[in-house]
């Protein structure tokens, strides 16, 4: 683990640079292939709506993977993330309209821990509503 980000230089309330992730159907298909999760609700609108969903929805794990980018972009070394957890509180519907949706992610240091570690709390929202709950990472700083 090698990061230039020093524990001494952050405090509770330090904000991480925010990130906007545009999501289109192609992104979900690419993620399905890369992750091996081919659940039909992530690519077939006919099936998704037949089981009561508003549309095809993004993989929760796609949202989770996107959200932690705020932390890994901040620290540089992805190995600095020693813990990461979320609750999936809302689905992210992705319409096939050539535009898709935006996932907006922000993060803030919410606790200073022992051994140069900090807790970062993430907020992820789409269409004005948060989609993750208790999204937190423990990050090892220098």
């Amino acid at each position: 683990m090698t990061t230039n980000l020093k524990f001494a230089n952050v405090e509770v309330g330090t904000k991480l640079p925010a990130l906007s992730v545009p999501i289109q159907r192609l992104d979900l298909i690419r993620y399905a292939g890369a992750s091996g999760d081919f659940n039909i609700i992530h690519w077939n609108e006919r099936f998704a709506t037949s089981v009561g969903l508003p549309n095809v929805i993004a993989h929760g794990m796609f949202t989770m993977a996107s959200a932690i980018r705020v932390v890994t972009d901040w620290v540089g070394d992805p190995g600095a993330v020693v813990e990461y957890g979320v609750r999936f509180t809302r689905t992210v519907p992705v319409p096939d309209d050539g535009v898709g949706v935006l996932l907006e992610i922000s993060g803030e240091v919410t606790e200073l821990l022992a051994a140069g570690r900090v807790r970062v709390t993430l907020t992820a929202s789409s269409a004005g509503q948060t989609v993750l709950g208790k999204a937190q990472a423990v990050v090892q700083l220098a």
Binding site: D27, M64, D73, D77, G79, V82, E83, V86
Partner: protein, 150 residues
Amino acid sequence: MALNPDLIGRTYPPSEPYLVGREKIREFARSIGDENPAYHDVAVAQGLGYADVVAPPTFAFTFVFASAAVVILDPDLGLDYTKVVHGEQSFVYSRPIVAGDELVVINTIENIRAAAGNDMITVKSVVSTTSGEPVVVTTKVIVARGTDAQ
């Protein structure tokens, strides 16, 4: 519809070893649009002290998900997979995963509980190298939607 609570504590046999591929890490990172050079460039990853490219923090879910089929499909559990959604997910790392790691997963049903007409199943997956070095523990909560809640 309640699931069988006798299965709390059931541990399944270790998965077949999963060999973490450099190109698989790159493919996964591209699929989330992440250009972090530690995922793509061996020299950069080595400069950070790793043997090869590093996997993104949630990469482990790909092979853990596949290994957990033994739980999801366990006939004793009685889960209807078409009614399952992902409720929670966490990762606690001993060290990052890097290309070349050969990893095995041991899945345990940690809890089964009913809440608001649904069943919540907590599955803990302990990931270690084939030589026994601990790498990451992932925990997921899956929610089996009750027929009365539809």
